[in-house]
Symmetry: C2
Subunit: 334 residues, 2 copies
């Protein structure tokens, strides 16, 4: 393509273009499987989310992994749809949990319908995802995705109990991040390799890539919440602070806090007594300890881990895109 200046610039757009035939098949599968003859409310709710169209990074990871490892069948379509269903189900349940009103710039399902629909339609999508993965006939794939589902739920519960808790360590934060983001990324890439019957070394490399990519992405996202272009995340600056979530910039600042600062964090995060100017003060404390830079370094480290993992995989156009994707998720914070 060398001089083709019309080539899409962003790696997920290049992935989407390269994988467009496969993704079209995945799309058909998603629309077929989210239908329900008995309960028309179900496609109403899911279509709302599916049509809002995230970037579909997770299903593309599965397709890319399978193709890179030379897969010739069509089970990877089912697995890509599975991964997207699990993701959509967790979004629906997250919206109940977060009591959020916006998702991808649209009102959330729980505002348009009600919490009940969000819970039950999420359950339906989980069940559908298990039907889809069962249809591949691979017990190894089922193992991986069932484990991922458990890790996701565990991470979300851990996040609940860690909220507003100043004792949250970086170790706990990492477990939360693995649950809310990296577990599904890692499973998405791993099952692509497994279905292609790739070597154990390659499957492990794919898993390591997805895991590190997810962690890098989430740390970058959390960093942007305290400074950065909010159009990139769709969130408002300081959302995590207001919701009293302990993320890396704050966890690192709490660890270095003097008496006054500790009292500040206790009041604003632990007790939730916040007023005008508190976010500015939080940002000032964070700046004083340089924890934004330290957090950025950590995200860059995970991005590098992701890229290094790709070394175990055969040369392929998709491999270059995955490498660029690992750069891209942290480019926003550079």
């Amino acid at each position: 393509m060398g001089l083709d200046t019309n080539a899409p610039a962003k790696p997920h757009e290049r992935l989407a273009k390269y994988l467009q035939t496969d993704m079209a098949a995945v799309d058909v599968l998603i629309r077929e499987r989210m239908a329900s003859a008995h309960a028309p409310r179900i496609p109403e709710v899911t279509a709302h989310l599916v049509d809002a169209g995230g970037k579909r990074v997770r299903p593309m990871l599965t397709l890319a992994a399978a193709q890179m490892c030379g897969y010739q069948g069509d089970h990877h379509h089912k697995l890509a749809a599975t991964v997207e269903f699990i993701h959509t189900a967790t979004l629906l349940h997250d919206d109940v949990v977060d009591e959020s009103g916006q998702r991808r710039g649209r009102p959330t399902a729980n505002l348009l319908w009600d919490n009940k629909s969000s819970v039950l339609v999420g359950d339906y999508l989980f069940a559908r995802s298990f039907q889809l993965m069962t249809a591949t006939g691979s017990l190894q794939v089922l193992d991986i995705l069932a484990d991922a589902a458990a890790t996701i739920a565990e991470g979300e519960v851990l996040q609940l109990t860690a909220a507003a808790n100043l004792d949250t360590t970086e170790d706990i934060y990492l477990k939360v991040v693995r649950g809310k983001t990296a577990a599904l990324f890692a499973a998405a890439t791993e099952v692509g390799g497994v279905i292609a019957d790739a070597s154990t070394a390659q499957v492990n490399a794919l898993r390591a890539y997805g895991d590190a990519l997810g962690i890098a992405f989430q740390i970058a996202d959390d960093l942007l919440d305290y400074g950065g272009d909010t159009t990139a995340t769709g969130k408002n600056l300081g959302d995590d602070f207001r919701e009293r979530k302990l993320t890396l910039p704050v966890i690192k600042a709490v660890a270095k806090a003097d008496g006054d600062e500790r009292a500040f964090w206790k009041r604003t995060i632990e007790k939730g007594e916040q007023s005008d100017g508190d976010l500015d003060q939080a940002l000032a404390i964070i700046a004083r300890h340089g924890t934004m830079a330290a957090t950025r370094d950590q995200a860059l480290g995970w991005s590098k881990t992701a890229k290094d993992a790709l070394d175990a995989l055969p040369d392929h156009a998709l491999k270059d895109m995955l490498r660029d994707l690992a750069d891209y998720v942290v480019a926003r914070i550079n």
Copy 2:
């Protein structure tokens, strides 16, 4: 045992006694698998439910089916625990959906903790249940339980949209009942047969038994809501009326309603404008059309279907208990 007057009288108690060694193993598995090293909130929430101790009918159905078909391994323990986890997960999510404050005579998890914990711990149990069933290595079992999970969620969504809707037909009601109750009963008995490698005829008979048993049970439960010993259900007389749920006694009465009666149902169920005396009037209309008796007949018919299905199975002490169980679930309404 003939003259042993100390023998427990109720069929589920006899099942529990007969299956006590197996059930002890299932109990260990449940406690092991509901633990979470990372998120102590999880066992807190689940222990609250598990210790409250329902009758554990569903896991006993799985064990009984496997034993009747001569199973010698230990995968049926995993499947019994799977079935109980799915049941517990749906209870947690139901409590969010119903905004209920009591379950099995104790405050519900969503009152003790919050809706968030109920949603996420339910998700965790679903994921754990899929791990457990995957560990059996049987794709057929995975198919059956994934289908059951989808039917359950679909039925619950259908129930949401059918609530307060006077157009709800008996056909829709039956789909709701299959979703909320019979699908898991049917899967519980069917997987017991499958894991024991029983013949297709026997597996189908086990499924038919569980399906009919679940329907008979649910119809009886719904009937008792309009008259009967409320200590048997743990609910209050008229709960379904107040919650504007369309169940069989009302669906049948609506179908026979004259103009005044239709206006009454429209006001109380569709619009939800209820005041003192309305429940009594609902009961009077129901009595006038004899829909309690018609509903009872239907429950008895399903109970008979359940018993007839058992004919395809070998003679066994457990078969007699299952037959008695089918009588017992409708004995409350006789």
